[in-house]
């Protein structure tokens, strides 16, 4: 998997997160999903399903315990994508 795939993951995450949250919150890699975006657990779980479909991977929900920022989520998705392809 290449750099551009990582960028693709990041772009998809930022796009979907901005749909899910207030338009006036700027979404950057360091944005905190819970504190800053107020993403509730149900929205996050549903977002995970969408990402699974977009990249044809399985993302175990329990792997999210260490995820706080957009970058950490992108890293997790990237790692799973590399190991599954």
């Amino acid at each position: 998997m290449t750099e551009s795939n990582y960028d693709e993951i990041m772009k998809l995450l930022c796009d979907r997160l901005s749909d899910l949250t207030n338009a006036d919150v700027l979404i950057a890699p360091e944005t905190n999903l819970i504190n800053q975006l107020s993403i509730d657990s149900i929205k996050l779980l549903n977002l995970i399903m969408e990402i699974e479909d977009a990249f044809d991977i399985s993302i175990p929900i329990n792997a999210l315990t260490d995820v706080q920022t957009v970058r950490e989520l992108a890293d997790l998705v990237h790692k799973i994508k590399i190991t599954s392809s």
Binding site: D40, S41, I42, L45, N46, I48, M49, E52, D53, D56, I57, S58, I59, P60, I61, N62, A63
Partner: protein, 397 residues
């Protein structure tokens, strides 16, 4: 924020949704008169929000059995099933459940919540996978978390979505537990069990079905969804609770896999808790007997369900897809749900109010549960009241 400040913030968010003084959650019930009536404050209300599906809470057989057990064996076992808490009744009830489901063995747990926690965490562990419905009950979700297994959710009752996720599991399917529910407690809809079984047979995995809300309700003898679908032998493990149609408290798991017995030695929610009290076990045994031969109760229950479902549907309420004992009106906003709930209480009808995030997909629900002890007139009164309130609710945007 320190720990207590975090709780304050959560309380503030809750109060913003539900002002102080509106006791929709944990409403104090002052007196219980019967399976269908109680006193809340100074009101005598019709209970339309219980899980008492067969209406057996005051059955003389169950009450007598509980009294006798207290007199003979005392108020509690004061110990775990693993130590001093396995009395004759506990073991007899396990045999009776195994026999009811024509299975090799059964285990009794202290609550239905613990039955799911104990079964799931006993079956899977870190490195294994659980594939669960997106609307799974908290006891299933918590059991998965406790197990440490990898949790994958599929969209509620969406078989194409489930298949996609099964396919992605690849070789991990060997160590995958699939979990569904007979009747889902929020909208009262049923799992498409035949399709789930077909996918399980195509891809692999072990299937657990929670019959919490379907036990006593579905099937000729009340086994649940496994009976109406004729798929008893295709489901690997069945869990359920005593707290609904059996009118006590406790839970069970049955299976034809002899490995079920090993759960007694590894499952913390089975081991590290006291066993159900003798009176609980005795009334449950009596209730299970009534449930098995209770087809007249199921007939009455279903006739009540159909009556209320069709009346609410006709006037325009958005309901779950299947008529059944859980009939939930889905409304657009928490304010509308609260208004409907309050107005029903004003009319002496108690139902359940379910606000986000408890309800699926951020919905707000006013949920009725119907039971076999409700009279046709009571069901009509509830239906008529819903009809009367429809316009008031829907003009409040």
């Amino acid at each position: 924020m320190n720990l207590l400040e975090k709780l304050d913030a959560a309380a503030a968010a809750r109060k913003a949704l539900l002002p102080d003084g509106v006791g929709a959650f944990g409403i104090p019930i002052e007196e219980v008169f019967s399976a269908t009536e109680a006193r809340i404050g100074s009101r005598r209300v019709l209970l339309m929000g219980t899980n008492n599906y067969l209406g057996l809470t005051f059955s003389p057989e169950c009450i007598r059995a509980a009294h006798e057990a207290i007199d003979k064996e005392g108020t509690g076992t004061t110990g775990s099933r693993m130590a001093n808490g396995s009395y004759f009744g506990h073991r007899a009830l396990e045999k009776e459940f195994a026999d009811f489901y024509q299975c090799g063995s059964g285990i009794v747990f202290t609550t239905g919540y613990q039955a799911n926690l104990g079964t799931i965490s006993g079956l899977v562990g870190p490195g294994d996978t659980v594939l669960i419905d997106g609307d799974s009950h908290a006891s299933i979700f918590d059991g998965c978390i406790l197990s440490g297994a990898n949790i994958i959710r599929f969209k509620h009752n969406d078989m194409a979505d489930m298949e996609k996720r099964l396919r992605r599991l690849g070789d991990n399917i060997e160590t995958t537990l699939i979990i569904a529910e007979g009747i889902y407690s929020m909208l009262g809809d049923q799992a498409p069990l035949a399709d789930i079984v077909q996918l399980k047979n195509k891809y692999g995995g072990i299937l657990l079905l929670d019959e919490a809300h379907s036990l006593g309700v579905l099937g000729k003898t009340g086994q649940g969804l496994v009976e109406t679908t004729g798929l008893l032998n295709e489901v690997d493990f069945i869990t359920g609770t005593f707290s609904k149609s059996l009118c006590s408290i406790g839970g069970f798991c049955v299976s034809n896999h002899p490995q079920l017995e090993q759960l007694r030695y590894v499952s913390h929610p089975y081991i590290f808790t006291a066993s159900p009290s003798p009176a609980t076990i005795a009334s449950t045994r009596a209730a299970l007997e009534l449930l098995r031969k209770g087809s007249h109760l199921r007939d009455k229950l279903w006739s009540n369900c159909r009556q209320l479902y069709s009346q609410l549907q006709e006037v325009g309420y958005q309901l779950g897809p299947d008529p059944g004992p859980v009939i939930a009106a889905v409304v657009a906003t928490p304010q509308q749900a609260l208004l409907l709930w309050q107005q029903l209480l004003e009319h002496n009808i108690y139902v359940n109010l379910i606000l986000p995030p408890a309800a699926p997909e951020g919905k707000s629900l006013v949920r009725c549960s119907v039971n076999a002890a409700h009279t046709t007139e009571e069901i009509r009164y509830v239906g008529d009241t819903f009809v009367k309130l429809y316009d008031a609710i829907n003009t409040q945007a």
